[in-house]
């Protein structure tokens, strides 16, 4: 069964995070390693309201780019191993 768009994105982000263990993301007062952030992407039911909003906003933006930006879409698919 083919992966959904959001599943492709999450898989690709998790792989990117694995490759870059020392990189960090700053969002307001919060700091995450890529790995920490990627783990929140498919786990956002258990998060507090504010973090959930952050993650949802990130995923929505990523989905928008996936649909509108061909290079981004192709690269994410390739990284996730679906192309």
């Amino acid at each position: 069964m083919p992966l959904k768009e959001s599943e492709i994105l999450i898989k690709a982000f998790k792989l990117e995070a694995q490759r870059k263990p020392y990189e960090r993301i700053f969002i307001g007062f919060k700091t995450y390693t890529y790995k920490e952030f990627a783990s929140l992407l498919d786990n956002h039911q258990k998060l507090d309201k504010e973090t959930k909003k952050l993650i949802q906003s990130f995923l929505n933006q990523a989905l928008k780019m996936f649909r509108e930006n061909e290079e981004f879409r192709n690269r994410m698919k390739m990284l996730a191993g679906v192309k």
């Binding site: 690709a12 990189e23 969002i27 990523a62």
Partner: protein, 285 residues
């Protein structure tokens, strides 16, 4: 000599980066002949910022640090600007690199006649792997402003830059960073180049009819002279009514109905004005 008040506190990892980025801003301001009052590189108190703003009433205000919907932070615990002292932003241009502050504080600043408020309606996010790209994006608006562009052009150019940087990041395989860059660009606003969104249906109509002036219509209506005019009009109408009534027979007539309606509408308008004032005060508290 033009004056700029630059506040870039430093007290955690994120603010150490924003402080670093603000050094380029300081240099550019000085190159353009600004006298820069720089309160940066440490925790900053509210009184320091208030004093600097009070002493330099029309100075450009640049703020690089954390923000929330209704404030700018000088440390983890101290708000240097919030809704209680937002009037200090009146009649000056404000350039912020602070999460969320454009959502409420910026709108309130715009209501208080801040000339321009540059800020973000959501969290400003950045990554360590593309630190130079985020710095470039964060500083770009003010740098092009100092080159003489209008705020409208600055906003447009900065959003275009973000688009280019996001594409470059995709090409470099920095996908987290590309998405964050696009999010930052979407959250970026400048209240001057554009008007804050409003939920008030009256203001929406006023904006459609009168443009930017419509946004501030309530301020115009609240000016004392307008209140005097409305009250004076009512008093004159009262005199005319009494004079006319003396001439008429005692029966209830159209002139009475007209006068009653006018009295009711005058009272409703006054009550609405008082109600708005009450809501505003409650909100400020």
């Amino acid at each position: 000599m033009a004056v700029a008040v630059l506040v870039a506190p430093s007290f955690d990892d994120a603010s150490r980066y924003s402080y670093e980025w603000s050094r380029e801003i300081r240099q550019k301001l000085e190159e353009k002949g600004f006298n820069v009052i720089d309160i940066s590189g440490r925790e900053v108190s509210r009184s320091e910022v208030e004093e600097a703003l009070k002493q330099n009433p029309n100075a450009l205000f640049v703020f690089y640090n954390h923000g929330s919907r209704d404030c700018l932070w000088g440390s983890r615990t101290e708000k240097v600007v919030n809704l209680n002292n937002v009037k200090l932003l009146s009649n000056r241009e404000v350039y912020t690199l602070a999460c969320l502050s454009a959502e409420k504080l910026g709108v309130q600043a715009y209501k208080n006649n801040c000339l321009a408020y540059w800020g973000y309606t959501r969290e400003f996010a950045f990554s360590t792997e593309a630190i130079e790209d985020f710095k470039k994006f964060a500083n770009h608006g003010l740098i092009v402003k100092l080159e003489g562009k209008s705020w409208d052009e600055c906003l447009k150019l900065t959003k275009e830059l973000a688009e280019k940087l996001a594409n470059k990041l995709v090409g470099e395989g920095k996908y987290f960073s590309a998405v964050l860059m696009k999010e930052d660009a979407e959250a970026l606003v400048c209240y001057n180049a554009e008007m804050p969104e409003t939920k008030c249906p009256f203001r929406k109509v006023a904006v459609k009819l009168l443009g930017k002036k419509g946004w501030h219509l309530r301020d115009y209506l609240k000016k004392e002279y307008f209140e005097y005019v409305s009250e004076a009009t009512y008093v004159i109408s009262l005199i005319i009514y009494v004079a006319a009534r003396i001439q008429l027979p005692l029966n209830f007539s159209n002139i009475d109905i007209a006068f009653i309606l006018m009295t009711i509408s005058f009272l409703v308008a006054r009550a609405y004005n008082e109600y708005l004032e009450w809501v505003l005060n409650k909100w400020k508290k």
